[in-house]
């Protein structure tokens, strides 16, 4: 909206290794910046209240719900989205998702992969309890999570 745009601010931040300058309202959400302004639609939108994790990205090294992050919080930030995960080849997590049958409609998948990636970056050998906690903010309506746990097992080399 006009008024809001006037109140907008120019922010500079880094997305997947490239620097971005944008003039947007200070309260514009990161999820909209990614999806609408930068056409990075791998980050999904579903609940918009921080409950489903479909919009998960890594911001300054931490997992966040991009529907809850606003433009003014992005100054000089470093954002990683699903598009950065497989720059050259599939990431082992992505490979494990394919092998484990960890996705169906796939709509929760980018967020789920970001959540798992963030967990594994913090803790390379997480316990089952840590995995459950780490993924509990990401809803999946299709798989019943069984396939996702198979993927985690594959990553841990404990496949059946």
């Amino acid at each position: 909206m006009k008024e809001q745009l006037q109140a907008g601010k120019t922010i500079r931040f880094n997305v997947n290794g490239s620097s971005v300058d944008l003039s947007v309202p200070a309260t514009y959400r990161l999820v909209d910046i990614l999806r609408k302004e930068l056409n990075l639609t791998g980050t999904k939108i579903s609940c918009e209240v921080g409950r489903c994790g479909a919009c998960s990205v890594i911001l300054n090294g931490k997992l966040v719900n991009s529907c809850l992050v606003m433009a003014y919080q992005l100054e000089d930030a470093v954002v990683q989205t699903i598009e950065s995960v497989s720059a050259d080849a599939l990431h082992p997590i992505q490979e494990a998702f394919l092998q484990g049958g960890a996705l169906q409609c796939g709509y929760c998948t980018p967020g789920m992969i970001m959540a798992l990636k963030s967990l594994l970056e913090r803790e390379s050998q997480p316990t089952k309890e840590e995995v459950l906690q780490g993924l509990s903010g990401n809803l999946c309506r299709c798989t019943g999570y069984e396939g996702i746990l198979r993927a985690v097992d594959i990553l841990a080399n404990k496949a059946e």
Partner: protein, 768 residues
């Protein structure tokens, strides 16, 4: 056979659409955008029930950046939609009947402007008292929500002599009332899409389970020939029945026509909750009687389904519930009456399990209670009354012979869950453990009297690929992989040799809807029907070219092979060479119908699948919280085509059913949703699922069965609730009749049970 990744060996295949999905590359239709695209929004009702006195859009139209504001007078064709009954207005004219009702739509340069404009539309209402109780809705003095009154549909089924007389001869009778919730599909991708106008019509990109039905309905609304509307409908970010009806499609198409520009709507979750379909809440009164030996003699059922403001597939859901209310049992005297009733609650429609989940919860609970009363095991009671292979179907119709009922019963009884009662853990005296199981029978396809055709096309395309086309959609279920596997196994070719086309009305034959667990079966049938004549065409050309006799030619990896018994087969021509040299590329089409029962019983099914579920629960008596610690499934649905897909459907269905049983309810108060988003409408998270889930697949079909693999999209959801409820009873002695279970209710009984068991113990017992 326990279905596992390891056990499936090389048939466990990564999904065809997997890489695009794990990398985030895949554009869902709601992700798309186009140059000059406008954003749309829909103004929805403020009331659950009201008269509209006036609508003033002038302020909204004046707002800079607004391109169009549409109301009912801007609809060129029919102001109504619905797959079977077109009673849902695109835009309401004089009455709103639920909070999701649409009044106007706006297209503007940005989402924000569109929303601001929508807020500037002035609607004057006269609010009316919403009718929210289906029982009240049926009373004669209640205002009529639709011209023909508030009864959308009724269905009856009767068998044997007078059921009341039969009750008189029963040794034991159980009569109960069951309630089931308004479950939300909660697909992660809310409804969205883009309509792109062009000179001779428009292209619609929107997820839907049946592109051709959308095309037909939109042609009526837009008053445009169907052929001018191209519907691209896959991929879908989850549907479970919720995207079979039109949702945002009419609005974006009308706006695109009005503005001449692409228009996108991607509905917010809140709007999706308000406007979208839900599972029919049902009140089921069931009276079941048996003689002293455990023969089921009489069964009387009354089903009241709340269909909400509009019909959608309410009649078919009710018919399905009526049909399945005797399940896999033979009962002498049966009387079932069902009513599907309009109210001012949200719209209920199609949802995975299609009315079977609700009645199966009631029926299986009845069986357990009756067994308890008769003082026999529920297994003995089930066995005594279980349908046999050649028995007719639940409404006494001819069906494909099946031993499924017995197979799933035998198999689920082997579940480790059911062997010994889980030991109580002394350090957790407030945790009660229990186990239970149940079984079910579920019809595939739309049923008798409903047009249920399918079609398929197989060609060799110029790229030298075996191109297979269906009008089905990839809703996440893994249909692409299923098609790939049926193709590679039928033609012994590689996945690379196959090109699959689905989800685009401009490119595919009519195959009917991706619903009712029908797609796998229809894919298998189609490919089998086309294979012979397609090969004949190709072999005769290859034989001519190469001189190799027809009889030894076979399709294989990369091309046509000369088959030799000693194993030294040789490639004669690649598919690409055939495609390059043949004068006319071979194309074969097939059209066929989902197999139906010859009996003229509306909605009666012919092909059934079966399921058994066993659950172990842990109940915290202090909080009443129920945790399902283990859940096993036994499924009889014919051969497993795609093990990863099959397993995923059952696991996912199981967790959805767990939600139905323990936590999910789209609560309404006076016609308004109280649960508007995932912060109050809870679906299972990874922390809520059982510690272990095992799926065993029974693949054997009867000798001579020519119908192949049945779909498993729904069957994994049906038997779970009654299994959990039986386990809760085992743990607490209490029977739950209302879903989702209420922790307060459980707490009371669990606590009483513990107190009793500890009468003389430390837990407040009177030690005198």
């Amino acid at each position: 056979m326990r279905l596992t990744r390891a056990g499936s060996r090389n048939r466990w295949k990564a999904r065809r659409d997997g890489i695009q999905k794990v990398t985030g590359e895949l554009k869902y239709l709601s992700d798309m955008s186009f140059p000059n695209m406008l954003y749309g929004t829909v103004l929805r009702s403020e009331y659950a029930f009201a008269k509209i006195n006036s609508i003033d859009t002038s302020e909204a139209e004046k707002l800079p950046g607004v391109s169009a504001v549409l109301t009912s007078k801007d609809i060129p064709g029919l102001n109504g939609f619905g797959i079977v009954i077109q009673d849902q207005p695109v835009f309401c004219e004089d009455t709103v009947r639920y909070v999701g009702d649409a009044i106007a739509a706006v297209a503007a340069e940005t989402q924000e402007i569109a929303e601001k404009a929508a807020a500037l539309i002035k609607v004057e209402y006269t609010p009316l008292q919403p009718i929210t109780d289906p029982e009240v809705s049926l009373l004669a003095k209640t205002p009529k929500l639709h011209e023909n009154g508030n009864l959308l549909h009724n269905a009856f089924y009767k068998q044997g002599a007078d059921v009341e007389e039969a009750f008189a001869n029963c040794a034991c009778i159980v009569e109960e009332v069951y309630y089931t919730p308004r479950q939300m599909h909660a697909y992660m991708e809310t409804e969205g899409g883009v309509a792109v106008p062009h000179e001779d019509g428009l292209t619609l990109y929107a997820p839907t389970q049946h592109g051709f039905k959308d095309q037909l309905q939109l042609s009526r609304i837009l008053n445009m020939p169907e052929s001018d509307i191209r519907v691209i409908s896959s991929p879908i970010g989850g549907s479970f029945g919720g995207k079979d009806e039109l949702n945002i499609q009419p609005f974006i198409c009308l706006l695109a026509r009005a503005t001449g520009k692409p228009v996108k709507i991607h509905q917010s979750r809140r709007t999706s909750v308000k406007a979208g379909l839900k599972r029919h809440p049902m009140k089921i009164t069931m009276k079941t009687g048996a003689d002293k030996d455990g023969n089921l003699l009489a069964h009387k059922v009354r089903i009241l389904a709340d269909t909400g403001a509009y019909a959608t597939l309410g009649p078919a859901v009710l018919d399905f519930a009526v049909e399945h209310s005797t399940g896999p049992y033979r009962i002498k005297h049966v009387e079932v009456e069902g009513y599907s009733v309009y109210t001012n609650n949200g719209v209920a429609g199609e949802f995975r399990g299609f009315g079977g989940n609700q009645v199966t919860f009631a029926l299986e609970s009845q069986i357990e209670k009756l067994a308890e009363m008769l003082n026999i095991s529920s297994t003995a009671l089930r066995r005594k009354n279980l349908r046999k292979t050649a028995d007719p179907g639940p409404v006494n119709q001819q069906i494909v012979p099946t031993a499924g009922a017995e197979q799933v019963l035998d198999e689920i009884l082997k579940s480790p869950i059911l062997q010994d009662k889980p030991p109580n853990n002394e350090s957790q005296p407030f945790i009660l453990k229990g186990k239970g199981y149940s079984i079910t029978m579920h019809g595939g396809g739309l049923g008798y009297g409903r047009s249920d055709p399918s079609g398929a096309r197989l060609s060799l395309n110029e790229k030298g690929k075996l191109e297979i086309s269906f009008g089905f959609e990839e809703c996440g279920q893994g249909l692409l992989s299923t098609i790939e596997m049926i193709m590679t196994e039928s033609f012994a070719c590689s996945a690379d040799d196959v090109e699959i086309t689905i989800g685009d009305t401009a490119k595919v034959p009519h195959s009917g809807s991706s619903t009712a667990s029908r797609a796998t079966n229809m894919v298998w049938t189609g490919i089998n029907k086309m294979k012979g004549s397609w090969c004949d065409k190709v072999y005769s050309f290859v034989s001519q070219q190469s001189g190799v006799p027809l009889e030894v030619l076979k399709t294989g990896h990369g091309g046509i092979w000369e088959y030799q018994e000693n194993g030294n087969s040789a490639l004669v021509m690649t598919y690409k060479e055939v495609a390059d040299k043949i004068s006319e590329l071979p194309v074969v089409t097939a059209s066929y119908h989902f197999p139906t029962t010859p009996e003229s019983i509306d909605g009666g099914h012919f092909l059934y699948s079966f399921a058994g579920a066993a659950a172990e629960v842990e109940i915290d008596a202090l909080t009443g919280r129920v945790y399902v610690s283990k859940l096993d499934h036994a499924i009889a649905a014919g051969p497993v085509v795609n093990p990863m897909g099959y397993l995923g459907q059952i696991e996912g269905g199981g967790s959805m059913a767990l939600g139905f049983t323990l936590m999910e309810d789209a609560v309404m108060d006076n016609g308004k949703y109280m649960t508007e988003n995932f912060d109050s409408y809870l679906i299972p998270t990874i922390l809520d699922i059982p510690k272990s889930t095992n799926v065993s697949a029974i693949e054997e079909l009867e000798d001579g069965d020519e119908y192949g693999p049945r779909g498993v999209g729904e069957i994994g959801t049906v038997a779970v609730a009654p299994a959990i409820v039986a386990a809760i009873h085992d743990a607490t002695g209490h029977w739950v009749n209302k879903l989702p279970i209420c922790p307060e209710e459980i707490m009371e009984f669990a606590f009483t049970k513990i107190s009793k068991e500890n009468q003389n113990g430390w837990l407040g017992g009177d030690k005198g």
